[in-house]
Structures are given as structure tokens and as C-alpha cells.
Symmetry: D2
Subunit: 291 residues, 4 copies
């Protein structure tokens, strides 16, 4: 399990319900056009923490149905409600997802022992490969190298989605646990993540710059630093614009411009304004140029 | 609406299901023994963010059934899933809760406009008094004085549960919006909160030191600063011990020692250890002494 | 040692040299008009961390010469250069300052043992009463209650200038160390600081609202909460305006409007703009009204 | 100006005075044994913020006298006292230092306009090449890309010592200002810094692992990623041990074990304990093995 995977956006209708047709289009676009190695379904990018359990199950079902066995599929099933997390985990396993992933429990400031118990329980009750999802900027939870070691020694825990910017820690983790998989999460530092030892990366923006990310990843396998740098520069021009406006909103807009129905945001996320659309449209130009 | 209210603990069975009998005991203890002015149901203390919607509804139902019209009842119905928040809000209204309260949406770093839209939608769809629940230490969201002004001008928004330690801001808010209610949330600073202009306070520890809190509140109405200070000191001796071990866990333990079945924690919260129980048992001694 | 003391502003000429005449006027204004209990000389407000040793000595000399024995005098002599701190401390002692104060060493993230060694060395080499100066918002250094205990047990350490907003901690410190003096540092929370157990307060704004602060302090001695609250409200109207523009700059401007030559800022602090002056001039109106 | 430079440690006698003999040994060791491209004198590593002006001048003099024209010499002359900064800058220029560097003014939360004025004044009054020294972890000051642009457009400002971990920002800065020099500052991420576009790096640990750093830098010039990664791993084994104990203290200890008199720390920095020495001695073993 490695390479470039897309953190999948979830298209909604404007009443907050799932846009199945759009979702299928986004899946196909990522597989066929972006040619990414896998899809990470139901994570932060997927707005899944705003969805109810029924919708999260539908999401998993539709994506699997559309993607089949074309690419690696990882289901983010973490929830503050442990029973929901386990039910979603078992659903994903049953559907044939290659692995589960669960966010570190957030909101309450859980101790590491509580966090560990959470992964222990999910993995025991699902018996399916698990990727720890660590995103300190959103959860406030930093895991030490020693504590990562404890999580990685739990049965079925196979790796980490490392959405953190501490690259020295990432390098050390990979050195200590070479058999585990580490996916980076900062699209604007894909180059540095891979150079630090990440096996791949999972990112929101790969829905639109997945091809560049793939090429960058391959360049580094061939030690072609110069090409990798140039690709990262191109990617970062796009990412800068996305970040100014809001990555989820603006990536959805770009997809629409490319003919992919990425749908609406889930409330209370706002929609992109007309002025912002004009700014984001520059990306379409850049992407067309890069072709 | 003012005075001392308890942020209600939720007793669970050890399998994570609601302990109805225990819940009724905790409600009665707070009303009959602690004689608090109200109950704040389904907040952080109530571990409601770990519960599913069905359980949250049951919780609201049982508490109302047990409390009747004895005290003010506020239902915390906030949720990252807006539809759930609205459904819980309508349920609470229908059950006869005096007011709703909703946490500022967390996890994603929502803009203030998004936060405002969230309150707007809940209040429009429930048409029931709303108390904004602001707890920056857990949500990471700080609201400016100007932005509080915008929220407080929404129809049906009647006040703020101000679980923050910035007392200068609280004083200013009360001065700017004298007709709105402001409840403090730091039990170890009840004295300072009330002196700063809070109309009352909502706290976890009032399940066991509600009587002292009531007396402190009344002392300040009579400008008896000395008695108020002494009471705060007594309260803080208890609160210090609670905080060392974990406020929710140890308050539940004290209640059990007092014959009130406060039940288990919801997973992944850990239970209190035997050693910690000994430490917390000192509180029972202090409380008996104070009688 | 208690009551209201002014954190003294330092008037400079526009070339960064000390404005002796202005300094004497500021001292006199504080003693004669504001009637504060003491002056805290050479602290953050005094811009002393931007000054060289020679200037800091001159500052101590001039203030003592002007103030004589009219009020309590505390010399802030802390410095990242330990030899300078000791020399300034001995100078202040020799000049007749009632006490020294030293900021917790900053910039480098010193361990508590290093911080303790710093106070130990200064107190041993000066043998004069010492007030620990703790201001986490500027130094980033938080001292635990236990560690405060260690500092307060050092010979000659008589108290703390507590420029922090954690009032529960302040209350606990005063309860644990009733014989030590604790001065609050948040002018907009003077009421809450005193209610929490502070023996007094040291603040920048008392150069212009020292009389109100004095009256507030006295009201609380008589348990007149209502008057104290009203005074804090009046004070906070002034403080809000000062904070919008910059407390040091705008307090200097107000003093000038009152006929006291508070001089220029030390580089790289900017001067107040013409537009800001207009805004700050409202304060002069408020102060005149209050008379 | 590029490549690997050492942030020079300053050896003190145990009474806090400069250890000239030791200083000359450290300089020679860095030039002759580590073969670094340059020395960065009087920075954080050099404990210069704890020294008085006289000592800082002596430091600059001795280093220049010992180093001659063997390597690039950069004098960190920043100070909260602007006059001192300018005097030190002129001294360094007169002594023949290749460039000056000044830390962003710290302690007070200066606005960017104040920070800019500080660099403007120093560069105008010294007329010598200036490298902005940005180290947010110690100063708390983050400079935006736009604001870096303003600083880099000041006459004589030639680059940035970028002691930050945001590599995406570094990459963007180098892309926007290709003619300016950017030195990274995180020794455990040298690889990632260079890959991100840094022209070189300035670090404390290069006093003992400067050769590995040089080789890593050269490997990357030749796109030999694998060798670079291996070197970073070796370096990080050393750096991990240094960080556990304290980088400055333990690097000084290692130097002593290598026969270089790196002297004592400046008060209030503590000295390394006997137990820690044993731990750090493992580094000497690693370094000898690497030879």
C-alpha cells in the first residue's frame, strides 16, 4: 500500500443529502483521469464528521460500488460514538474496503491510554487492517513517537495517515517502523514528505492535481529531484489559490468546471462566492496548460 | 433565568447504554439535595458528544420526566450534524424544556459567518429560546465581543453559557447586553464570575457542591464578600481534588459514595482507579464536615 | 506592601535618550494627582528591556530622587544578563528602593530549575526583598503552584507581581502563602483580582486612572461591591480605548494632554498617529467628566 | 553565500566570562575538522542574548582574528537595544565580517511595521549586508510571505536565516526571491530544507556533525537522494541524543570529549549532569564509527 491517494470529497445536494450521481463522477474522475492509487473515503475532506451514520454507510457503499477493485480503498470510520465507529468499520470490511482508518478521538482531551483503548476496541471488534488518522491541527492531539510505537504494535494497525508537518518525526517513525505504512497529508509538501520516508500521501487536492502528484512520486523513485521540485512548484501554485478560498469549496468548484459534479458543501460550510469563483477559475487555466 | 445550575452528568451502564435508574437518582439529588436552580442536560459533562441521537433523546426524555417543573431545564442539543441538532431541539421543545443550548460547531475551523448560520438555522427551525454554548478550551473557537453581539441579536438567542476564563470580556458583554443572560462555567471561579456580572453559573461540580455554590451566589447578592470568599475556598479544596483525577470520573465516584448511582463513563473515557478512589474519598469527608 | 501601584512609563526624547524632566513630571503626577501607593520602575511598561544598563541606572536614580520616601518604590532589575541584573539590584538597594523585582528569564526556554537558580543568585548577591515578576503573555513562561512555592521559600522573596489572568491560581497561591504579597497585573480586571485575594495591583493605566483604581480598592475593603463594579466599568471604558491603540503609546498621549510630559517611545516602538490621537482624546473627556 | 555553516557555540569560564582559548579551539575545529563553509557568530546558540555588549564585541573580535578569511563569517548583532545593535553591526563590519544578521525584535509583541523599522534603521546605520534572523519558536514572531517580501526589498537585506519548520513557506519564498539567500535552521531536517530550496543551513550541531552535513548537502547537488537520506538518519541519531539532554550543553560536552575546550554555559543555563554525560558519550562512539 503506497503512492498517491485522494482524500475523497463528498458531493451533497443543496439540502444536505448525498448526491450519488456526483459522487460516482468524482470517484471515476479520480480513478480514470487522476489515476491515483487509492481513495480515502469519509475523512475530514469528505465532511463525514458532519454526516449521520446512515449517510456515512451510503457513502461507503456507493464508492465501493463505483470503484470496484480498481484502486485501493480506505474507509475512515472514526467517530466520537464508539458503537458507530465499530458498525461503520464492520460495514466497510463487509463491503470489501482494503483497510479502515480512524481519527484520533477529539473534542474531549482524551489521555493516550484512552486513545489507545479506542483503537484497541475498534480493531478487536472489526478485525480489519487499521490506519491511525492523526491530524493535530484539527484535533489538537499530538502523539509522541513512543506512543505511536504502542499504537503500531496493536494487532491489525498497519500504519498512519500522518497529517502533521513535523517531518523529522515522520522520518524517525519510518526508520523505527519500516514495515508500517506512513501516508503524508500536506499536499503542498508532498516532495518533502516522500523525501522524509513517507510511503505515499493522501490529499484533498489530488482530485485535481493527482497526475502531477503521481509524477512527482515517480520522479522521486528515480531520484529525479529536479523534476520533483518543478512539479511541486506547479502544484503549489494551484494549492495556494485553493487555500486562499477554502480547499474543499474551491476544489469542488474546479471539479465542476472540469465537468465533474462535485456538488454542494454540507451545512454549516458556506458555498464559494461569485468573486471567489473567478479567482479559482485561474486554476482551470493552469491545469489545462499543464496538460 | 439565573443562579446556580448543574451541568448534569450522565450515568451509563458498563456496556455504554444509559442507566435510567441512576440518571433519575442524579436528577433528584441535584434538585432535592443540592437545590440548584436548574439542570443543563446533554452538555460536555453529560458526555453527550459520545452518544448517538437515540440515546440523547432518551436522556432528554428521562430527565424531563423525573424533574417535571421543579427547576429550569436547558437542553444542549448542538451537534456537528445539523439535522440531528434540529431534531433534538424540536424534541426538547416538545418535551417542555425551558431553553435550548448549542455548542459552537467544532472540529472544522468554521468561520464566524458559518457559526452564525448554524445558530440561525437551529433557531429558525426550532423557534425556542437558545443559549449559545462557548467553550474555547474544548472547541478552540474564540468569539469576539462584536461577534457575540451578532449572535445575541438573532431572534430567540437569549444568552450565553460562557465557559471561558476571560472575565474582562464577560463583564463587557454583560454591560453591552444587560437583558441577555450569561452563565459562567468555571466552578473554581464562581465568585469572580458573578462579580464580573454573570447572572449565574452552570457547572459539573454542583452535583456535589451545589449547596455551597448557592450560598455563595446568595452571599454576593447581599454584598457579603467575606462569606463568598470563604465558600469559594471550601469549594476549591474539593475542585482541586476532582481536577487532579478527572472531574467527571471523580464526581461520579463521590456521588456513588453519597448513595447516588452515577454509573459508569462512556467509552473511551477511562474509569477511576482504586488508588484514585482513595484520593477522591477525601472529598466525602470534606462534604460531610461542611454539613 | 499593598494597594494600587503604577507601572511607571518612561519618557524618552525622540533620539531614544531619557527625558529626565518628563520623567520627574510623570513621577509627581502619579504621586500627587493619582495618589497611588507606589511605583514599579523599569518594568515592561517602562520599556526597560529596550534600554541599556546606564539608562536603567539613571532611571532608578531620577525616580528615587524625585519620589523620595513619598511612596513605596519597587525596582524591576531583571535582565537576561545576570551580571547586569545583580548590578542594577545593588544599585536600587543602595538608592533606597523598598524592594526589587525581576522578570522570569525569557527568550530561551529555561527550565524551572534554571529560573529558580536565577532568583537564588540575584537574591543572594543583593540581599534585598524580591518580588517575582511573572508575565506569561510576554515571556511564555507559566509557573506552577508548586514551583511558585519553591520560589517563595527562597530567602528575601516576598511576593509575586502576577501578570496573569488565571484567577483561580491566584486565589490558591494567596491561600497557600498568606504572608506573601501578590500584586495583580490586569488593569481591566482589578475588581476580580482583588476579590481573588490579591493584595493590590500594579498597572500601566494607573498613571491616568489611578484614582479610580484606589477608590475601587477601598470600596472592596468595605465590601461595597456595587461601587467597585461601577468603578471597574468606568475604568474599562478608558482601558478599551487604550488597548485599541496601544496602551503605552496612548497613555503617554493622554498624559501629555493632561500637561504631563510623558515623552516619546523608545525605538522600535512606533509613535501614535494623528488619527489615533483623536480617538484617544476621548479619554481626556471621560477623565474630566469623572472628576 | 551557501552551504553548511555552524551556529557557533560560545565557551565561557565558570564565572561567566569569555573563554578565549576555548573559543579559538572551537573556531579552528569547525574550520579545520568540520570544514564548514562559514560561522554564524553571536546567535542563540552562542548564548549572546545573555551577554553584555563588551563581551559580544570581544566575541566578534576573537572569532575574526582566529578565522581570518578562511570561511564566510556572519555576525548576529540583533538586540532589543537598538543602539547596541547598531554599534555591534558597525564593529562587525569594521572587523571584516561578510554579513550581519539580526534577530527579529522579541519580548514585546512588535507589529510588523515596527519590525521593519528595526531592520531599516540597522541597515541604514551600518550599510552592510543583512540576513534577517527569524526563529518563531523562541521569539513567537511569525512573518508572512508578504512581509518577508517587504523586508527582502530593503537595501542591503540579502536573505533570511529561516529557523522555522514550515517548509512549504520556505519553498515559496525561494521561488519568489530566487536571488536572496535562505539558510535553514533545523538540523534534523537538513535534507528536507535543502530539497525545499534552501541555499544552505546554519546549525548548532554542525560543530560535531558538520562533515555529515556537508556530505549531505553535496549529495543533494548530485541528486543522490539515497545517500542524503542515509546521512540524515545518521545525523538524527546524534541529534536525538543531543535534544534529550539539551543541544547546547551536550554539544559542548561532546566537543570536550573530542579535545576541544567548549567551556561552560552562561548562567542561568545549567551544566550537564554526570548521568547525562554518560548518555551523551554515546555520541562520541557514533562519531568515531562514522569516520
Amino acid at each position: 500500500m503506497n503512492g498517491i491517494m485522494t482524500a475523497l470529497l463528498t458531493p451533497f445536494h443543496d439540502d444536505g443529502t448525498l448526491n450519488e450521481k456526483g459522487l460516482r463522477e468524482v470517484v471515476r474522475h479520480n480513478i480514470d483521469e487522476m489515476q491515483v492509487n487509492g481513495l480515502y473515503v469519509g475523512g475530514s475532506t469528505g465532511e463525514s464528521f458532519l454526516m449521520d451514520e446512515g449517510n456515512r454507510k451510503d457513502l461507503l457503499e456507493i464508492v465501493k460500488d463505483e470503484a470496484g477493485n480498481d484502486v485501493t480503498l480506505i474507509a475512515q470510520i472514526g467517530s466520537l460514538n464508539i458503537e458507530e465507529a465499530v458498525r461503520l468499520g464492520n460495514k466497510a470490511k463487509e463491503l470489501g474496503y482494503d483497510a479502515l482508518s480512524a481519527i484520533t478521538p477529539y473534542y474531549y482531551k482524551f489521555s493516550f491510554q484512552e486513545i489507545k483503548a479506542y483503537y484497541q476496541r475498534i480493531t478487536e471488534e472489526t478485525e480489519h487492517p487499521m490506519i491511525v488518522y492523526s491530524i493535530p491541527a484539527l484535533t489538537g492531539t499530538q502523539i509522541t513517537i513512543k506512543d505511536y510505537g504502542e499504537l503500531l504494535s496493536l494487532p491489525n494497525v498497519i500504519g498512519v495517515k500522518y497529517s502533521d508537518t513535523n517531518l523529522s518525526k515522520l522520518a524517525k517513525l519510518k526508520e523505527l517502523y519500516p514495515d508500517k505504512v506512513f501516508f503524508g497529508g500536506a499536499d503542498d509538501m508532498l516532495l518533502q514528505l516522500i523525501v522524509s520516508g513517507a510511503d505515499g500521501a493522501i490529499g484533498s487536492t489530488y482530485s485535481i492535481i493527482g497526475k502531477e502528484a503521481n509524477e512527482l512520486f515517480e520522479s522521486l523513485q528515480k531520484s529525479d529531484l529536479e523534476n520533483a521540485r518543478n512539479l511541486q512548484k506547479q502544484m503549489n501554485k494551484v494549492i495556494s489559490i485553493l487555500e486562499e478560498v477554502g480547499v474543499y469549496q474551491s476544489t469542488k468548484h474546479v471539479l465542476k468546471q472540469l465537468g465533474v459534479d462535485a456538488g454542494y458543501m454540507k451545512f454549516p460550510f458556506r458555498e464559494i462566492t461569485e468573486d471567489e469563483k473567478k479567482q479559482v477559475d485561474k486554476i482551470v487555466g493552469i491545469l489545462t496548460l499543464n496538460k
